[in-house]
């Protein structure tokens, strides 16, 4: 018998890699199925969306673990924000279309910002996924500069966030929030935003209501 205790972090991360690979190949198969049967109903689209979401949750799990171990270092690289939003909207387009929701993006084409594409992508995907559950007809991704920050927002025309959540803006206790795992998602988002740092300023997230739709407005502030 080995006297060494198992290194849980290696165990965890390699299982997550493994599952994530499986999911990736599953999505890939669905993708092929879709191209072979272009007239199929929306089931494949939904399956794909679900699988993608599971993949995202896994990514989140791994990132949260690393965060806890203080091993998470975002790769803050300069990106064209319009490119990023375009890609996100293309990615979610099929799922939105299947639900008869229009997804758009608005952004100055010259806007550039520093962020970890994978991590922020994960946050935006989760936000869009949530919006998909509430939106009536519209989801808008947008970005703008605001003082020292670049602000990424996901807005929808649903019923918006519950009042108490809006009033609190406290995401530090993921396990205390009731019901679904929104709490965990918000905790993750706020932690990821916070590890984006520039010259002593950290990022954060903000929940609000959408000016244009009156629905939910989820914003990430990146320094």
């Amino acid at each position: 018998m080995s006297s060494k205790s198992l290194d849980i972090s290696i165990l965890l991360s390699s299982s997550i890699h493994e599952i994530k690979n499986q999911i990736n190949s599953m999505i890939f198969r669905l993708e092929l199925l879709q191209t072979q049967h272009p007239d199929s109903n929306n089931e494949i689209v939904f399956l794909k969306q679900d699988a993608t979401h599971i993949g995202n949750e896994l990514m989140r799990l791994l990132a949260l673990y690393k965060l806890n171990q203080k091993e998470l270092r975002p790769q803050q690289i300069q990106h064209g924000v319009e490119d990023f939003l375009e890609e996100k909207s293309v990615q979610h387009n099929a799922a939105c279309k299947a639900k008869k929701i229009a997804i758009e993006y608005q952004c100055d084409e010259t806007l550039a910002a520093f962020f970890d594409e994978n991590l922020i992508s994960c946050i935006v995907d989760t936000a869009v996924h949530n919006s998909l559950g509430f939106a009536q007809q519209h989801i808008v991704l947008s970005a703008r500069k605001e003082n020292d920050f670049m602000v990424l927002s996901v807005e929808d025309d649903g019923e918006g966030y519950p009042k108490d959540l809006l009033a609190q803006q406290d995401f530090s206790n993921p396990l205390e929030s009731e019901g679904s795992n929104t709490g965990l998602g918000l905790y993750f988002a706020s932690e990821i935003a916070a590890c984006h740092e520039n010259k002593g300023i950290s990022g954060y997230i903000k929940l609000g209501s959408s000016d244009r739709f009156g629905g939910a407005n989820f914003s990430v502030y990146l320094p």
Binding site: S13, I16, H17, K20, N21, I23, N24, S25, I27, F28, E31, L32, T35, K48, A51, T52, G55, L58, M59, L62, R73, Q75, Q76, I77, Q78, H79, G80, V81, D83, E86, E87, V90, Q91, N93, A94, E109, T110, A112, F114, N118, N198, K199
Partner: protein
């Protein structure tokens, strides 16, 4: 602004992917947007040989390629040896969970990443983006492809001048060019400019590199140490720390840093080689053996393959051969012989290496107490050494001394010890010293110092060029001198294989033209 559509049907692709199903599906998917000219390769090695033959516009390469080379290594080889034009696009396909392993402070970066899962929506939009971004850099790439690094620097400046998403990338590009052109002061200014905009680890690392080149070692060390502490996965910080320590002859510390670097990133041939070299100096044979063994196996089919790893491994094994009786000793012996056989097979036609191998065979026999056999090899070696006359490279003289010592021929060994200097192990320092002499106008001293510096079994191109330049300068100032011309001829022979897209190529050409004048006389 309307974005121009990209004519994918005009582009030549290669997909490097070990997973059969994924490979063919990816190809199918690409057909959907007009990419018809798509070749495939099932491994990194196959990919590289196809790239050499192919002239591709776009390479799509999976990071994880099962056994053998990974995608990052394929990228390094193709870019390092100029197998792919600068204007060609290299895309790395990664799983989101491995991306951070790949990205960051790496010398060679792909033109873009595509993260799995790949769907036809994101494949097309991501490729579009990568191709368009590459277009923004086409002036730079063209200048590099036509071997005009100075023009490439100017092209970078144009991008830097305008605020855009390309600004930082252009800075980074420019910094790499400046370092290659040895324009360290400008490079340092650039790194500081970037740090003004934002704290970015590579810019800070750059300041450290420039401090090192400017002989501000303490400052350099402090920077590298801070970076390594900040993120232990910053491999380059460890590498550079090792480099500074080695140049200060603090080999134990250098080894420690390299061990850290290897822990984070074990697949680099050059790093394993350096670890082997440093471990041999500190006589940590166990570590040396491990590092050289790794370097030999990683170097197979690689452009970084080098004879020094084979001789290094054999040398490191001697301790076991001599001191470990029974199984471990015998195994070490078998491995040493096998390694030398491989060395002779691949490099046997090179005189220096053939001699080195014979000497090491002698030492191996001597350490097994097979005196007769050892004497045979020693005799053979001495005969070859005679042919060299006074021109025996330093490292071979020392190898001979060690072999004779192993065979208890202390007196003969002593002769070699007197003549050849085992302190000539730090070639970087010698090179830097030569530069100092040259700058001070002491060309004679510079020539002598560079001559020692190029005794390095694997001298850098710029070190050889320095040596050549010093010789030519001395020819110019003191008139014709057969010995100096002979030196130059020797150096140019070493430079024969210089790649046309090497950043030193322009300098090489210039010196070669100057040399022609003297050669004819």
């Amino acid at each position: 602004m309307m974005k121009r559509t990209i004519d994918y049907h005009k582009k030549k692709f290669i997909i490097i992917e070990d997973h059969a199903e994924f490979r063919s599906s990816l190809k199918q998917m690409m057909k959907l947007f007009g990419a018809n000219n798509v070749e495939t390769a099932t491994s990194g090695d196959q990919g590289i040989s196809k790239i050499i033959a192919g002239n591709f516009d776009i390479v799509l390469c999976d990071y994880e390629l099962g056994k053998g080379k990974d995608g990052q290594q394929v990228l390094e080889e193709t870019r390092h040896s100029g197998l792919l034009k600068a204007s060609s696009i290299f895309v790395l396909i990664t799983a989101a969970t491995t991306v951070e392993m790949v990205m960051g402070a790496l010398e060679y970066e792909p033109d873009g990443y595509i993260t799995k899962p790949i769907t036809h929506e994101n494949l097309k939009s991501r490729l579009d983006r990568i191709v368009r971004d590459k277009q923004a850099f086409q002036e730079i790439d063209k200048a590099i492809d036509s071997r005009k690094p100075d023009l490439a620097v100017e092209a970078c400046d144009k991008i830097i001048a305008v605020e855009s998403k390309f600004q930082i990338k252009a800075y980074r590009f420019k910094s790499k060019l400046l370092l290659k052109l040895e324009r360290y002061q400008e490079a340092e200014q650039l790194f500081n400019d970037v740090l003004e905009i934002r704290y970015i680890p590579w810019a800070k690392l750059g300041v450290g590199k420039c401090a090192f080149y400017d002989n501000r070692h303490d400052e350099a060390k402090a920077i590298f140490e801070e970076l390594a502490k900040e993120d232990k996965r910053n491999v380059e910080a460890h590498d550079w720390l090792a480099k500074v320590y080695a140049s200060e002859q603090k080999f134990e510390l250098a080894q420690k840093s390299l061990l850290q670097a290897v822990k984070q990133s074990p697949k680099s041939v050059l790093r394993q080689n350096e670890l082997g070299r440093v471990s041999a100096i500190t006589e940590d044979w166990e570590a040396g053996e491990k590092a050289y063994r790794k370097a030999v196996s990683l170097g197979k089919d690689s452009c970084f393959k080098s004879s020094g790893n084979y001789t290094g491994l054999t040398k490191a094994l001697q301790n076991k051969i001599k001191n470990f009786k029974g199984r471990p000793g015998r195994d070490a012996c078998t491995e040493a012989i096998r390694t030398l056989e491989a060395l002779e097979k691949d490099y046997g036609n090179q005189k220096d290496i053939a001699l080195h191998s014979t000497i090491l065979r002698g030492e191996t026999s001597a350490n097994q107490d097979k005196q007769k056999e050892a004497e045979r090899y020693i005799k053979k070696s001495l005969k070859i050494i005679e042919e060299y006359g006074e021109d025996l490279p330093n490292h071979l003289g020392i190898a001979m001394a060690e072999c004779l010592e192993a065979n208890h021929q202390d007196k003969e060994a002593e002769e070699y010890r007197k003549k050849y200097d085992s302190s000539l192990i730090n070639f970087d320092t010698l090179n830097a010293e030569g530069v100092k002499y040259f700058k001070a106008g002491k060309f004679r001293d510079a020539v002598a110092t560079f001559r020692k510096a190029t005794q390095d079994p694997n001298p850098s191109i710029s070190a050889i060029l320095n040596a050549t330049q010093a010789c030519i300068k001395l020819l110019e100032t003191e008139g014709p001198n057969k010995l100096l011309v002979k030196d130059c001829t020797f150096y140019f022979k070493k430079l024969e294989d210089i790649a046309a897209n090497d950043s030193n190529f322009a300098r090489y050409k210039k010196l070669h033209t100057l040399y022609k004048k003297y050669e004819l006389k």
